[in-house]
């Protein structure tokens, strides 16, 4: 990546940070129907990951914590915000919501309400890319909690068996809700498991910009060029609660939570960029995020007819009409 590319990554990651903060504020103001799982701490990793991808030829599936991934793949921020807020004009007219963001047009196939449920779907996107010869790859992004789900193991094995171009990504933030990954996860590490399945696997520090660039570029290129699966485990801090507003009584007050965005800013300044330049980018990102969320808040909630279309279409009892 060029120095300019990296400055754009900085602004993009800060845009996602600011977007999540605006969503949190909207939730506090009662504008969000349910709980939101914010990606605070993973913004830089997700921006760097998606910078390697080429949607919609490449397709990403993500977990319940996927606001950042959808934005990083280029989904329209106002539409994403409107979906999270349950507004007409959302990606799916507010029918899906925060855990069900779909922007396949941009390469973000779907997020998911079931921990690990998105992983087999990515194998399907990989099968399509392989069968149709598009040159695309699929990326299944999950947390460390999902890495203990059976469907995830099945899919890793299936991807090796069928030789599918899919990159498995474990964002290890150390928590499955309130349960430590050290408690929940047997064995040495997720990448040791992946290697046992025959996957190429690497680990990366989600706040180390050079390591991210090197590792993600190498693994994405490897999956694309060989058509074979690989796995990357990224350590990312969870800077907030499992969901926004959670008390997090189970976390220690002494726990270090180094912010990848601060580390990246320090790095940029060490590389000769000005603190003022970084500041300007952060201000611009915040303004853009605030604008997108404010416009979404101003949208109306969907009319009841939005649902009636579906209750008619999916009605099990259909007088006279064949499908």
């Amino acid at each position: 990546m060029t120095p300019d590319d990296l400055k754009q990554v900085f602004e993009r990651a800060h845009f996602i940070r600011a977007f999540e903060q605006e969503i949190a504020a909207a939730a506090d103001a009662g504008e969000v129907p349910g709980l939101v799982h914010l990606c605070l701490g993973a913004e830089l990793f997700e921006t760097m990951l998606c910078a390697q991808l080429d949607g919609p030829r490449d397709q990403v599936t993500g977990s319940h914590r996927s606001h950042g991934l959808a934005l990083a793949m280029g989904a329209d921020a106002e539409q994403v915000a409107a979906e999270i807020l349950g507004r007409a004009g959302g990606l799916s007219e507010g029918l899906g919501g925060t855990q069900h963001l779909l922007a396949p047009e941009r390469g973000f196939l779907t997020s998911n309400g079931i921990v690990g449920g998105q992983v087999p779907l990515a194998a399907g996107a990989a099968l399509s890319a392989k069968t149709l010869g598009t040159g695309g790859i699929a990326v299944a992004v999950m947390g460390d909690g999902a890495s203990n789900q059976g469907a995830v193991f099945e899919t890793m094995n299936l991807a090796v068996s069928l030789k599918l171009p899919v990159l498995f990504v474990i964002e290890n933030n150390g928590f499955g809700q309130s349960t430590s990954a050290l408690y929940a996860t047997g064995g040495i590490s997720p990448i040791a498991r992946a290697r046992a399945f025959g996957l190429a696997a690497s680990t990366v520090d989600g706040g180390d910009i050079s390591g991210l660039e090197r590792t993600l570029e190498r693994l994405v290129a490897w999956v694309r060029e060989t058509g074979s699966p690989a796995l990357v485990e990224a350590s990312v801090p969870r800077l907030g609660g499992h969901y926004h507003g959670e008390a997090e009584t189970y976390r220690s007050a002494n726990e270090a939570r180094p912010d990848p965005l601060d580390r990246f800013e320090d790095w940029l300044i060490r590389q000769g960029n000005s603190a003022e330049g970084c500041h300007r980018r952060k201000v611009r990102a915040r303004e853009q995020a605030r604008g997108a969320v404010e416009r979404a808040i101003a949208l109306p909630e969907p009319a009841p007819e939005t649902l009636e279309v579906w209750s008619t279409r999916l009605s099990p009892v259909r007088a006279g009409g064949a499908a």
């Binding site: 899906g96 309400g113 399907g124 149709l132 469907a151 068996s161 499908a323």
Partner: protein, 334 residues
């Protein structure tokens, strides 16, 4: 017109579908067979429905999988979301359990959650039915279980023409379809049109015409009820026998039109006695068309137990022709 078995009709329909559209892929366990082995001839699926496909279309489109139903059903779902038309073989519907998240949460909801932007042209072919000594985990009829999941279409063919036609229609639909093929019917022969035309989802079939009683039957209960209808005719009871072919969407008009003539409803189904398809249909008719009924409707289903193994017990468990005749005569007396 020609005669063929359900097994052969499904096989020919798969050949037709794969030849007509290069995005059709077939996915499942042992569907080509012998993957990784040096032996020569393919298995073609444990019921022989997919035989010959791999030789014709290659193993890139006829994909043998590990025994990982959650992964390959989910893979098929993701593939349907991104441009393929997968036909998945789930060897027994008893295996729905291990893949259920991918069916209930992923395949069934993707259309809705995308606001209709995603289409899911996919079909999960699976088998159902007791009667061959396969025991409690290879003999169930779980079509009713899926009734409670909005977003799925459910087909239960009972003839070769319907099996082939529903399979073709399933891949033309935007919603994912689960097709329950009764193991005991694979060898059942019947007339088919030369080109195995699609059968629209949501259109039932009047199997036998009469004005004394309406019998709605699914899967292997259709031939059992046909035999019952013949016996009942000899006793002066004329049966309107309806095979709904798809239980979602359900052709309710065909059933209510029949009830306008007969006023008597008997539902025969191999699913559960409580909360299954039979209950759902009776409930629907009672709620919306109670005035059409002269007497209380009756259901004939297996008892609410797992499928037993011993021949005597399994034989008693499955509804059979004599039981249908008896239930119909009792309903005529009511």
């Amino acid at each position: 017109m020609r005669e063929m078995s359900i097994r052969d009709a499904l096989n020919e329909a798969l050949f037709d579908l794969m030849a007509a559209d290069p995005t059709v892929v077939v996915i499942g366990e042992d569907i080509a067979g012998g993957a990784g082995l040096a032996g020569g001839s393919e298995l073609g699926g444990v019921f022989g429905v997919t035989r010959g496909l791999a030789a014709e279309f290659g193993k890139g489109r006829v994909i043998d999988t590990p025994i990982s139903e959650a992964a390959f059903v989910g893979m098929a779902t993701g593939a349907a979301m991104t441009g393929l038309k997968p036909v998945v073989e789930l060897m027994f519907c008893d295996f729905l359990g291990v893949a259920f998240d991918q069916i209930m949460n992923q395949a069934a909801k993707a259309r809705f959650l995308s606001g209709g932007r995603l289409k899911l042209p996919m079909v999960i072919r699976t088998t159902m039915g007791a009667g061959d000594g396969s025991g409690a985990m290879h003999s169930q009829s779980l079509h009713g279980l899926l009734l409670q999941v909005p977003g799925l279409y459910i087909a239960c063919p009972s003839t070769p023409a319907d099996a082939a036609g529903l399979l073709k229609a399933a891949l033309m639909a935007d919603e994912p379809v689960v097709m329950f093929e009764h193991k005991g019917l694979y060898g059942r022969t019947g007339p088919v049109q030369d080109k195995l035309p699609p059968v629209p989802l949501g259109k039932g079939r009047l199997v036998h015409e009469g004005d004394s009683i309406t019998i709605v039957a699914t899967g292997a209960m259709v031939p059992a009820a046909e035999a019952a209808a013949t016996s009942l005719t000899a006793e002066g009871v004329l049966v309107d026998l309806i095979d709904p072919r798809t239980i979602v969407p359900l052709d309710i008009e065909l059933i209510t039109d029949s009830l306008r003539k007969t006023g008597r409803l008997l539902v025969v189904d191999e699913g559960t006695a409580f909360g299954g398809f039979a209950d759902a249909l009776v409930s629907t008719i009672c709620r919306h068309d109670f005035c059409l009924l002269k007497v209380a409707p009756v259901t004939l289903t297996p008892p609410h137990t797992p499928v037993p193994y011993a021949r005597t017990c399994e034989g008693a468990w499955v509804p059979h022709t004599a039981g249908i005749v008896a239930a119909a005569l009792e309903l005529m007396e009511a």
